[in-house]
Amino acid sequence: MSPLATLRIALLALRINKLRSALTMLGIIIGVAAVIIMIAVGRGAQLRVQDQIRSLGSNIVMVLNGTNTSGGARGGAGSQPTIFEEDAYALGREIEEVQAAAPTLRGSGQVVFGNANWSTVFYGTTTDYLTVREWGIAEGRPFEDAEMNGAGKVALIGQTVANSLFGDANPVDQVIRIRKVPLTVIGVLERKGQNMMGQDQDDIVLMPLSTARNRIMGNPASPGKSRNISSIMVKMRDGPQMDQGIAHMRELLRQRHRLQDDQDDDFYVRNLSEILEAQEAASKVMAMLLAAVASVSLLVGGIGIMNIMLVSVTERTREIGLRMAVGARGRDILLQFLVEAVTLSLIGGLLGIALGIGGQELIARFAGWPTVLSLDAMLLAAGFAAFVGVFFGYYPARKAASLSPIDALRYE
């Protein structure tokens, strides 16, 4: 019998039992859809972490102030002002593995433009900050050296600040005020989105370090005297020498801070990329787990197919007997039932792919999770569905084919 004729016979048999065929397929449909959706969600989570790594900038190391102990109570990280502007410059100059190091002085306050105002954080820093964060300028220009050295009254603003204060208008060359100090907006930063904590990274104002220290945060007691900063953002060069570079940084800082061998560090070095990479690895494991759980449902769908095919063989025993009486060989019967099972699982697989695409779209839209649809996930699910059809269809088909014609014909 030709394969085409076998296929036609199988399709006919499936059409005769429409409801049952549909219910059988349901298991495969749900299984395939679940695998596709779960892989899409898992990949989406992974991608989000990768985006965060990218938005933070790669190979980032942060140097923070040390702790302060007073009266037995230990302050948290950064409670003791121990790192200075010069530390940042020294790191950038003297450590080979460091590509750029930017001192930052962090503050927060109300930004005012005309009758609009907005509470935000501002950083006094250097142009290296943009290098470290791999942050481009969407509009306008970066700081100039004269502005850096002379506490120029200029600022770069993030997208969120720009929208809040200016709406659709162009902020460049407009004058904003922070703590009553007028600053000219010289540029708008590119959009970065949320960081891994969900904070809006575009809600930011950057200004020269000298401007922040001398004009805005100026300590009334000693204006412009304190060279202390909040943190140093360091970008390491690409390559495997990250840990070595961090060790060199610690060595240099200990030297500069004149720490004895028995003294602890008076600063903290945090490798942010490492944290994110750990998170990425975790999300990868999560994605695999999700796919594994989803494939269990595919397996259950396959068992459903086997169940229905077994019932079908029993129910159609007389039909099998008749087919044998008019000349069907065992292998014709085997093929017929196998094709039925595979057809069920393949059609189910295709419908499952459609449902999966729709499902991940819904999840992306209503749950707001990022999802990534991938062709290989669809092929994998469809291939697995076909395999399930053959695997679970074989036993019932074998059973049908091994019936003796006379027993099958007489079956009541």
């Binding site: 019998m1 004729a5 008749l322 044998m324 009486a325 008019v326 000349g327 069907a328 065992g330 014909l409």
Partner: protein, 237 residues
């Protein structure tokens, strides 16, 4: 092939069949010797359990004998493999059953074409031959009807058309009128007689004398043996 033409269509000798019932073997057929020539119309009679159905199954190559030889058109078939027997059934034998055994929800045309499907006949020829056979049994107008839309007599006609579609040399009818009323039964028997007059060898299994008397030779079974084999002299008008 000349030998095949001269040889009787059916030649069985010492044909026996045992069935296992638990641990004991029950002999359903105890050494039957028979020959049936081409063009005969034979009725096989007997009470249930007489072995007539077992004999019929062996003739139809649906079952393999435990003992003895069976030559169909000169060819020894008792030792053939399952696949070879399927081919013999497909090419040489047509079956008509008591309960018609048509495929449900399948058109009369597709039902009739079914043996051709397993005989590797091209699609166009399948349709053409199935249509021709259906007209021959008087159902040329009901090609697309499904079994549920046909009367019992019509369904049996479809089954007969199916049995004939591959031009078999032997038609085996197992209680073909068992599920039909008297009037329809007569129609079906008249059809079988007409086919026989056209040269087809017909072997009919029945337990009704009224049906058996349409045949030209009546063989009676009891306890797995032939107890009488005689020509039918009282053919109905």
């Amino acid at each position: 092939m000349a030998a095949a033409l001269i040889a009787p269509l059916i030649e069985v000798s010492g044909l026996g069949k045992d069935y296992a019932m638990g641990n004991t073997l029950v002999a359903a057929l105890r050494g039957v010797d028979l020959r049936i020539d081409r063009g005969e119309f034979v009725a096989i009679m007997g009470a249930s359990g007489s072995g007539k159905s077992t004999f019929m199954n062996l003739l139809g190559c649906l079952d393999k004998p435990s003992r003895g030889r069976y030559r169909l058109a000169g060819e020894e078939v008792s030792g053939l493999s399952g696949d070879a027997l399927a081919r013999v059934r497909n090419q040489r034998i047509g079956f008509v059953f008591q309960h018609f055994n048509l495929l449900a929800r399948t058109s009369a045309l597709d039902n009739v074409a079914l043996p051709l499907l397993y005989g590797h006949t091209p699609a166009a020829e399948r349709t053409q031959r199935a249509r021709q056979r259906l007209s021959e049994v008087g159902l040329g107008e009901r090609l697309a009807h499904q079994p549920s839309q046909l009367s019992g007599g019509q369904q049996q006609r479809v089954a007969i058309a199916r049995a004939l579609v591959n031009n078999p040399t032997l038609l085996l009818a197992d209680e073909p009128t068992g599920a039909l009323d008297t009037h329809t039964s007569l129609e079906i028997m008249a059809l079988l007689q007409a086919l026989n007059r056209g040269g087809l060898t017909v072997v009919l299994v029945t337990h009704e004398h009224d049906i058996a008397r349409h045949a030209r030779r009546i063989i009676t079974f009891r306890d797995g043996e032939v107890i009488s084999d005689q020509p039918n002299t009282v053919l109905p008008a």
